[in-house]
């Protein structure tokens, strides 16, 4: 009985520790969003509490004087498009590579994965030339074109692991049962690999929202910015940081992703583990 109790206390303590640790950034963003600058900058004040009445001024600045909503829309649009392109190309490619018998499938897979390891900080120089030639500079289409070059190799590699773990007999059975090869792929392989495909979706979308180098170098006009670049450019003026608005922007931008992520949490965990371990 005693042991059970002490177990429980340790359990709750560990849980509490991580809850505080992980929720703290969100608490900090929320409280900073509604604080007056006077309150925020006074080192005598307890930073975790309000000392002056909460204000809406930071939110007004964010929505009134920047193109924040437009940036959010750009990011969401690029995110969705890149996710679609990535899925359309990486799922068939990964399936083909996984089912390609002999050594070539494996080697090609590794080769494709290696391209993922070339850092964007090296690639943005030649790529900006490509963007200029195509006449896509200063538009979000430059990012729609470039991001898949990062997301597809990784996704192919991840999905290959998934597809390989699906027994070939399942497809054979589906074909004998009345599907075409493509039908078996669509109705058997894709639904069984849903965890992996969701992992690809979240990976791709997260990459699009947080990518900085390409978004900064390819696009200059304020209205075409991505949220990750627009916020630091327009809310940090010289050495003046609009902390309240910065935190508000971070909070609003991160909430939807956090929400979706939690919704599919179990699926993602399955996704990361099944893909990683054979069998």
């Amino acid at each position: 009985m005693k042991r059970k109790l002490s177990h429980k206390i340790v359990h709750v303590a560990v849980l509490a520790f991580f809850v505080v640790l992980l929720a703290f950034p969100f608490y900090w963003m929320v409280i900073a969003t509604f604080k007056e600058n006077l309150d925020l900058y006074n080192v005598q004040n307890n930073p975790f509490l309000f000392h002056i009445k909460p204000t809406m001024a930071n939110l007004n600045l964010l929505f009134g004087e920047t193109r924040f909503l437009r940036w959010l829309w750009n990011t969401a649009l690029v995110g969705v498009l890149v996710v679609i392109i990535t899925l359309l190309l990486s799922i068939p490619a990964a399936y083909a590579l996984a089912r390609l018998t002999g050594r070539w499938g494996e080697r090609l897979g590794i080769g494709i994965f290696l391209t993922y390891l070339v850092p964007p900080t090296l690639l943005f120089i030649p790529l900006s030339r490509v963007i200029a030639v195509l006449g896509l500079q200063d538009t979000i289409w430059s990012l729609v074109l470039v991001y898949p070059s990062v997301t597809i190799p990784f996704s192919i590699w991840l999905l290959m692991g998934f597809f390989k773990s699906i027994p070939k007999e399942l497809e054979d059975a589906a074909m004998v049962d009345g599907l075409t090869r493509f039908g078996a792929f669509l109705k058997m392989v894709v639904p069984i690999s849903l965890s992996g495909i969701l992992t690809v979706v979240i990976f791709t979308f997260t990459l699009v929202t947080q990518e900085f180098v390409y978004a900064l170098t390819f696009i200059s006009p304020e209205s075409n910015q991505m949220v990750g670049v627009g916020i630091p450019i327009f809310l940090v003026r010289g050495d003046v940081y609009y902390w309240g608005s910065l935190m508000a922007a971070c909070l609003i931008a991160s909430l939807p992703v956090a929400f979706i992520y939690n919704l599919f949490l179990d699926r993602f965990i399955a996704g990361f583990t099944v893909g990683a371990v054979k069998g």
């Binding site: 027994p167 054979d172 059975a173 589906a174 074909m175 049962d177 009345g178 599907l179 639904p191």
Partner: protein, 346 residues
């Protein structure tokens, strides 16, 4: 129902290499239970997969119901196949697994429920319809796989070692269930196995394959009592047939026909001195292994299988004999069956 025929079917996986299946000609009978029997790598599964349409023959023709189906996809052949791993769809419930072929072949939706219920009651899995495959035992999975196979009433059943994933006890009951099932539906069935006991017990006829070549097709009695060559002779039967060479022919006799000379009443018999080296007591029978002594067969290792009655001791030499009509003769070079010959043994 339909008859499956193959005409000179050959499958070569890598050019220049020996074929996995070579020049196979076979014709099932209507409603027959035909077993492909052979060791692993004998090409039996490849042949089955070609009949299913999952592999393309390198040459030759495959006919189902009298029609050449070489260019038809698996779905167009109206066959059902049960795989070694059962290949149940893991993301679907048992009900949806069974209904899957109906859906895939655009059977009107209002018939699904009725047909699934018919198939599942036939196999006694009506209570499992809402479960997922991972929640089923091995035997239940096999039944679901069979239900999924019969639900669309195929013209031919193909079964690829469906019992090999079950433990020994379950295998026996599943085997009986399969036999009963076949008697009830009466569909032409081709069954692949490497287990000679399964083949003998279930097959109307057995086709013995080795290295992609058909060695013999016949009823269990024919392939056991009258093997076409030494491979069939030694592959069927446990312990296998004894083979002793003499005067350019190989003489074979089954261990159960090699008995104490005094127990064989026939006049026409072949007697040997048999020195027992090892005695295995198996409850209902003895397995004796030892050496033939004297004459041309001196030192040849043979095995005898005897019912209880006498007791035998290792190290002792007994007078053993085989009735002459139980002797089989094979050519030494081709290893094929040849007519009986009179041989001198001394």
């Amino acid at each position: 129902m339909a008859v499956v025929q193959t005409r000179n079917v050959t499958k070569v996986f890598k050019e220049g290499e020996l074929g996995a299946v070579n020049n196979v000609n076979l014709e099932t009978r209507e409603g027959e239970f035909l077993v492909f029997l052979g060791p692993s790598g004998s090409g039996k599964t490849t042949l089955l997969r070609m009949i299913a349409g999952l592999e393309t023959p390198t040459s030759g023709e495959i006919l189902i119901g009298g029609k050449v189906v070489n260019d038809l996809t698996p779905r167009e052949r109206r066959i059902a196949m049960v795989f070694q791993s059962y290949a149940l769809y893991p993301h679907l419930t048992v009900y949806k697994n069974i209904a899957f072929p109906l859906k895939a072949q655009n059977v009107p939706k209002n018939l699904h429920k009725e047909k699934v219920e018919w198939a599942s009651s036939l196999l006694g899995i009506g209570a499992l319809l809402q479960r997922k495959p991972r929640e089923l035992s091995g035997g239940e999975r096999q039944r679901v796989a069979l239900a999924r196979a019969i639900v669309r009433e195929p013209s031919v059943f193909l079964l690829d070692e469906p019992l090999s994933n079950l433990d020994a006890k379950l295998r026996l009951s599943a085997r009986e269930e399969l036999e009963r099932f076949h008697r009830r539906v009466g569909t032409t069935t081709i069954y692949v196995t490497h287990d000679q006991v399964e083949a003998m017990a279930m097959g109307d006829r057995i086709m013995v394959l080795n290295k992609g070549v058909v060695r013999q097709i016949g009823t269990p009695k024919e392939v056991y009592d009258d093997p076409a060559d030494t491979f069939v002779a030694t592959f069927l039967g446990s312990p296998p047939m004894n083979l002793v060479e003499n005067d350019g022919v190989i003489v074979g006799f089954r261990p159960e026909h090699f008995r104490l000379a005094e127990d064989i009443r026939e006049v026409d018999k072949l007697t040997f001195k048999f020195r027992v080296e090892n005695v295995e007591y198996l409850g209902a029978e003895f397995i004796l292994s030892g050496l033939l002594m004297g004459g041309k067969a001196d030192g040849k290792k043979v095995i005898a299988r005897l019912l209880l009655g006498h007791s035998y001791e290792a190290g002792t030499t007994y007078d053993f004999a085989i009735s002459a009509r139980q002797l089989k003769f094979f050519d030494r070079t081709t290893e094929k069956k040849v007519p009986a010959k009179a041989l001198t043994w001394q």
